[in-house]
Structures are given as C-alpha cells and as structure tokens.
C-alpha cells in the first residue's frame, strides 16, 4: 500500500453509493454493521417469541402462522419441525449476526480507529468487502426460510450426521441446510477479513505515545477477539467444507457406516459424527468469547467513566482478557461430556473450564473495585453496564456447575443449559451492546439518546431477562429437556406448565419492551438533543473530535498520547478527568 501525502487526502465521496452503500469509511461501515445487526436482533427476537408462544400453547391455531408457513403450520397449528427451524434460525441469527456482529464489527469498526488516533482501518477496501460478505451471508441464511422444506432443524450447532445427509433427515435439512452451511462459510470468510484488519490496525496504526499498555480496554477487547476470530473461524470454515462435501459430493467425513434414516440404509462408510463436534466446538467455544470480550471492554470503560474513577487494576484486566482468550481454545470438550468421551479427557476439560473462573473473577472484582466509592452517575449506559456485571455473575456461576462432568451428565440437554448460556452469552453481551449504544450514540450520530426512555427500557429488560432465564434453571433441575417442541404431553413435565407460562409471558413482555429501544434509536437519530464533543467527560481519543467525527478523523493532526486511558480524579488536575492527549508527557 503506497503512502500518501497530505495534499492527496481524499475528500468525502459525493456519490450516494460511495458514501452510504459501498463506503470504505470505517465509521460508515461500523454503522452498516450496527444496523444490519439491529435488524437481525429483531428478527431473532421475533422467532423466539413464536417459539415461546408455541411451547405453552402448542395446540393454538393462529391463522397467520398458516399463511406464513403453509407447510410448517397447516391450518395455523405449528408443527414440531417448524418449531425446530425457528429454534435453529433464532440461534444462528443471534450468535452470528448479533452477538458477533455488533460488539466487534459494529462498535469496533466505528470506534477503534478513533480511539487509537488512526485515520481509518488498515485495509479500508477489505473492510467494505468484509461487511458486504457478512450482508450476503445474512441474505443467504434468510433465504432458507423461502426454499422447499424451509429452514434447517438442527440447531445452530448443526450436528452431523443429521446435518450431513441431506433432505432425508427432515424438511429443512435439504436445501435449507445447504444454504445454512454456505451462509456460515461466507460469515467465516468475512470474519477472517475483519480480524486481519483489526489486528493490523491495532498493531500498526496507533498514534504516537499510544503504547499497548495505554490502549483503552475496549481496544484490548477488540484485539483479543480478533486474534480468537482469526484462529476459530478458520476451523469453522474447514468443518463447513467437509460438511458441504458430505452433503453434496457423497464423501463420508462425518457420516458413519450403516446409518439408517427413515428406513433407509445410507451408503456412506466410516465417517465420524464426533469429528464434527470436535471441529465445531473448537470454533464454538471461542465463539462465546468472541461475543463477550468486546462487551467486557465496553463495560470496563463505561463503569470507569460513570464512576469518575480509573479502571481498577488495568493491567490485571488486560492479562485476564488474554488468559480468557487463551483458555477459551482449550475447553471445547466441555460441550461434549455426554458424547462418550474418556473420563480422563473429561477431567482435563473440566479443570481447564473451571480455571476460566479465575480470570473471570478477576474481571468481576475489578469492575466492582472500579465502581466502589466512585461518584456514580446512573446514566442509562451505566445502568446497562451494572446490569451486565450482575448477569455475568449470575450466568457465570452456573457455568461452574455445568463445567463438572458429573453434574453436566444430568443437566446436559435440559433447560438448565438454555438458561445458563442465554444469561452469560446472550443477555450479558446484549446488555453490553445496549451500554455501548447509549455511550457511543452521541459520537456516532451527533445526537443524544433519550435517557428517560432508555431507563424505562433498561428496567423492563433487566427484570425481564431474570424473569425469563432464572426459571429455566429450575425447569432444568426438574429434568425438562431442551429442544422439545411440546412437552405438555409428558406426565413428569406437566407440573412445569405454569412455570413455562410465566417464562413465556415474561419473554413476550421483554421482547415488546425492545420496541422502546427501537423508538429511542430512530427518534433520537432524527430529533435527539444535539450532542457536544464530549458529553460524558470521557478520556479516550474519540471524544476529542466533533460528534460525529469528520472523515479521516484526526487527519494528519493525530494527537500524541501522554497518559493511560482512564485518568479520572487525578489529584491536582484542573478538572476531574484528563484526556489521553492532555497534559505533560510522562
């Protein structure tokens, strides 16, 4: 890449297409990712609302179900197959297009170059390509709703052999499943491009004085996540190719010999379904950290800003992030305790899994240490950040239970697991997304979000997620299996009907409350109060620019950084915060 001189600084493109659609500006790409993910989040939430409704009213005839899915809901009554396809699509959309997309690709793209004083990402065109590959991947996934047989049934984990043998495995396992695999492979490629861009930008384009140990913790979150993505998505892509060949080319990577499906013996020989699980979870577990680590960075920053205190134990936070990222690659087997693995392997995976509790606890205590005796400003962003800590702990401690093989034997495939991963991976990440949105919206749009609406949204959401997911743990303790479309017909589960009704009502209410966020987003973008340069009196470099920042950010005037990222309440300083480029060089 050739270097340019100042006189060659390109101006903001005038054409609509280059400015808003095929933009190479990291800020526009960040917003594109964000909006794609908001759409995906509402679609994914709608699917889960339908699932919850079906679980408690399995016999209900809903006319428009029948109109939307003539085969999946004949006469308006949802079939178990349709339920499973909704579940699969809900999981896939949420994991990939929401939890992986907003915190890393959305916020990261917009904020990262600003925070390190760079003018853009290292490879702007690759960045654009990465977004449009993600968008294509989303379109391909959604196309599965409209093909013969509908969307796939196998869950977001797409376990072989049922994912590998084609339409014989059920409606949706034909073309729908093929589209799913293609979509996920496209997503992998897009994520790899993104990861290369993030790593290069962070390593090479930091402004003068921005040493690694002066990086805001958000940047550390994005860096570690990018490295994890680089390794994890490559494995998923490899698994995807083998799965696709098993489906389309008659190979037997994952399909065992003598498999009988629908009274037919399949001709395949010798494949290993467990091999798919190993490859998938080698990606799948780090994926959990891809979803949560950028959020951890956001939370550290938000808690520090609104407590007017430095992050407690900055270095420990960095090392904890690195440790979590590393351990995340060594624990995939804990998703497979019930697969018949050797107890010795299970113990090894268990010990490693439980050891993630150490860096996680370091982070939690440091968050508490950060807010302890701070001058708390309970903005909406701060409330969501505090909510994150609460949910992270609540979801984390059940991980300590599931990480033990002997307990997992009982809980595996029950609602206990559903409750656990929704709390720790889903809700915690989503609360971090909300915290980040309220925090950076003024910078991204030049307008403030409504705090009143935001707080109402927070309290309903916070209470709502506990009301939805805590009872699921109880259902799991009672032995309630997951993935069942209708469990009212089992005697031992009948007593749980009222519990499930409660969960469903809480879920519908919480889902509806998300419309408040949508209204807030749209209204504030158009009519919100004008945002000043630094409304939160924060210290990182993005707040040294106008809101929204100009194209190429600081241009050639990139400031020199002279201090760490969270110098609040510095004794003797003229105000209670010092921005990273303010003051004497240390």
């Amino acid at each position: 890449m050739a270097s340019r001189t100042e006189s060659q600084t390109p101006a903001r493109p005038k054409s609509f297409w280059l400015r808003y659609i095929f933009s190479t500006d990291h800020k526009m790409i960040g917003i594109q990712y964000f909006l794609l993910a908001v759409f995906a989040a509402f679609l994914g939430t709608a699917l889960s609302a339908l699932m919850r409704y079906h679980l408690v009213y399995p016999e209900a005839k809903v006319r428009w179900f029948g109109l939307l899915w003539p085969d999946g809901a004949p006469g308006g009554v949802m079939t178990p197959e349709l339920y499973l396809s909704l579940m699969t699509m809900h999981g896939t959309i949420m994991v990939f297009f929401v939890l992986t997309t907003v915190p890393q690709s959305g916020f990261g793209n917009y904020i990262l170059p600003l925070q390190i004083g760079a003018e853009d990402m290292a490879f702007p065109r690759l960045n654009m390509l990465s977004f449009w590959t993600t968008a294509l991947s989303f379109a391909v996934l959604c196309a599965a709703f409209f093909v013969e047989g509908g969307a796939p049934l196998g869950g977001w984990t797409a376990y072989a052999p049922l994912s590998a043998i084609g339409g014989i495995a059920g409606p949706g396992q034909g073309i729908g499943m093929t589209l799913w695999v293609v979509s996920i492979m496209l997503f992998s490629v897009a994520s790899l491009m993104g990861a290369i861009n993030f790593i290069t930008t962070l390593l090479d384009l930091r402004t003068r004085g921005m040493s690694l140990m002066r990086l805001p913790l958000t940047c550390w979150g994005w860096l570690v996540t990018a490295v994890i993505s680089l390794f994890a998505f490559a494995v998923l892509a490899a698994a995807g190719i083998l799965l696709l060949l098993d489906r389309e080319a008659g190979t037997s990577f994952f399909i065992p010999a003598g498999l009988i499906v629908s009274d037919r013996i399949l001709p395949n020989k010798g494949g290993s379904p467990l091999l798919f699980q190993h490859l998938f979870w080698f990606f799948g577990h780090p994926e959990v950290y891809i979803a949560i680590l950028p959020g951890m960075g956001v939370i550290s920053t938000v808690l520090s800003v609104f407590s007017r205190k430095p992050v407690f134990g900055y270095k420990a936070m960095v090392y904890a992030l690195l440790l979590i990222g590393m351990l995340g690659f060594l624990v995939w087997g804990h998703h497979m305790f019930t697969s018949g693995m050797s107890p010795y392997s299970a113990i090894a995976f268990s010990v490693l899994t439980l050891s993630i509790g150490v860096p996680s606890a370091i982070k939690t205590f440091n968050w508490l240490g950060t807010v302890w005796r701070g001058s708390l400003q309970l903005t909406t962003s701060m409330l969501f950040a505090l909510g994150f800590v609460s949910v992270f702990v609540a979801g984390g401690v059940t991980g300590m239970i599931l990480g033990q093989p002997v307990l997992d034997m009982y809980f595996h495939d029950t609602y206990f697991v559903v409750g656990h991963f929704h709390m720790i991976m889903g809700v915690a990440s989503v609360l971090a997304i909300f915290a980040g949105t309220f925090y950076w919206f003024p910078k991204m749009t030049g307008r403030m979000m409504s705090e009143t609406l935001g707080k109402i949204h927070f309290f309903i959401t916070f209470a709502g997620v506990y009301a939805i997911f805590m009872p699921m743990h109880l259902a799991g303790l009672a032995g309630n299996p997951r993935r069942y479309a209708d469990f009212a017909q089992f005697d031992f589960l009948r007593d749980l009907t009222s519990l499930h009704k409660f969960i469903t009502h809480a879920a519908l209410l919480t889902a509806a409350a998300q419309l408040l966020f949508l209204i807030n987003l749209v209204w504030s973008w158009r009519k919100g109060a004008k945002a000043p340069e630094n409304p939160w009196k924060a210290t990182t470099l993005e707040w040294a620019l106008p809101s929204p920042p100009p194209i190429h950010n600081f241009g050639h005037e990139s400031p020199e950084v002279v201090r760490g990222p969270c110098d609040f309440s510095v004794p003797g300083a003229p105000s209670d915060f010092l921005m990273q480029h303010e003051g004497e060089r240390k």
């Binding site: 890449m1 340019r4 390794f231 490559a234 290993s272």
Partner: protein, 189 residues
C-alpha cells in the same frame, strides 16, 4: 483510502500478510486433525498413490519459488530488467503448476480415484484443491504485479507488494511440501 506516514503502509502490509498466514495455517491444521481423527475412526482408510506428475509439479513450484526470490532480490538491487525476466518466469511457472495440478486430478479420475472413493482420496482432493485455491489467489497477485512490472511501475522504492507476494508464494511452497508429506508418506503408510 488512508493517509499514512511513509513506511506505515509497508509495515501494515506485512502485518496483514502474517495475520493471513496464521489463519491459513489454522485452516490446514484443522484439516490435518480431521484427517488424523478420520483415519483412526474407522478401518476403511486407503492411501492415494500420487501420479508421477505430482513430483514434476513439486519441482515446478520449487523453481517458481526460486525465481520469485531471485526477482525480488533483483528489484531490491534496482535491476528492473532482471526483475522483469525473473518475475515473468515465476508467473509462468505458477501457471504451469496450477495446470499440472488439474492434470493430476484428471489422471486420478481416469484411474478411478474419485473424491468419494475412500477417505484417503477425499482428503487428498480437498487438501490439494484448497492449496490450489490459495495459490491461485497468490498467482492473481503475481500476474497483476507482472503487468505493473512490465510497465516499469515498480522499483526498489515500490516493492512492498512484490515482497508480500513473494513471502506468500514461499509459504505456499512450504505448505505444499507439508501436504505432500501428509498425503504421500503419512497417508500411504
């Protein structure tokens, strides 16, 4: 379009390349582990004895790498004429390798070894095709640089793309040696 200080662009290109190489290594590591597990999972493993042409292709690839390296050094020494000759040779050798691989796949098919014949053949096809796809990407970059080279648009002060492509090409050469070992020695053992 970024506005960067002099030298930053070069550093960025190398970092981007190394990050990319890391992910390619990871991809082939996953592929290898799948191969090892699949072989152990069942008794149906058979090797895929290579047609003799595969060894010729290997030699072509090695020669290509040598030509790339020679050309790269010539460019650094500001000898554009030698660079152009060397780089053009490397581009031709790269094309020859890809054509050679296509012929290898045809020969295998003609002798009745298909993708779905047995696990050994499946991994052979997947591995060699994946390598060829990565190589084709590098070859397109090589061809593009060749056009620029012949227009005399490159020089000792404009050689980052050449260096990056050269390193990528050497990497793919080493990767090929590894795959060859995996298929021919480990796979047939």
């Amino acid at each position: 379009m970024s506005v960067m200080a002099a030298g930053t662009g070069r550093r960025v290109s190398f970092t981007g390349l190394y990050a990319f190489l890391a992910t390619v290594i990871m991809f082939f590591a996953a592929f290898t582990s799948a191969m090892v597990v699949r072989r152990g999972a069942s008794k149906d493993w058979k090797g895929t004895p290579a047609p003799a042409l595969l060894w010729v292709n290997t030699a072509v690839l090695a020669l290509g790498s040598a030509a790339v390296e020679k050309a790269r050094r010539d460019l650094r020494a500001a000898d554009r004429r030698k660079f152009n000759i060397g780089w053009t040779m490397a581009t031709l050798l790269g094309a020859l390798f890809i054509v050679g691989q296509i012929v290898v796949w045809r020969q295998l098919r003609q002798s009745g070894v298909y993708l779905n014949s047995h696990p050994g053949s499946a991994f052979f096809y997947v591995g060699t095709v994946a390598h060829a796809v990565h190589l084709a990407g590098g070859w397109i970059a090589m061809l593009y640089l060749n056009v620029r080279a012949l227009r005399l648009q490159l020089g000792p002060g404009r050689r980052t793309a050449v260096d990056v492509t050269a390193i990528y090409w050497h990497f793919l050469g080493l990767l090929w040696v590894y795959l060859l070992w995996l298929f021919q020695f480990w796979g047939n053992a």
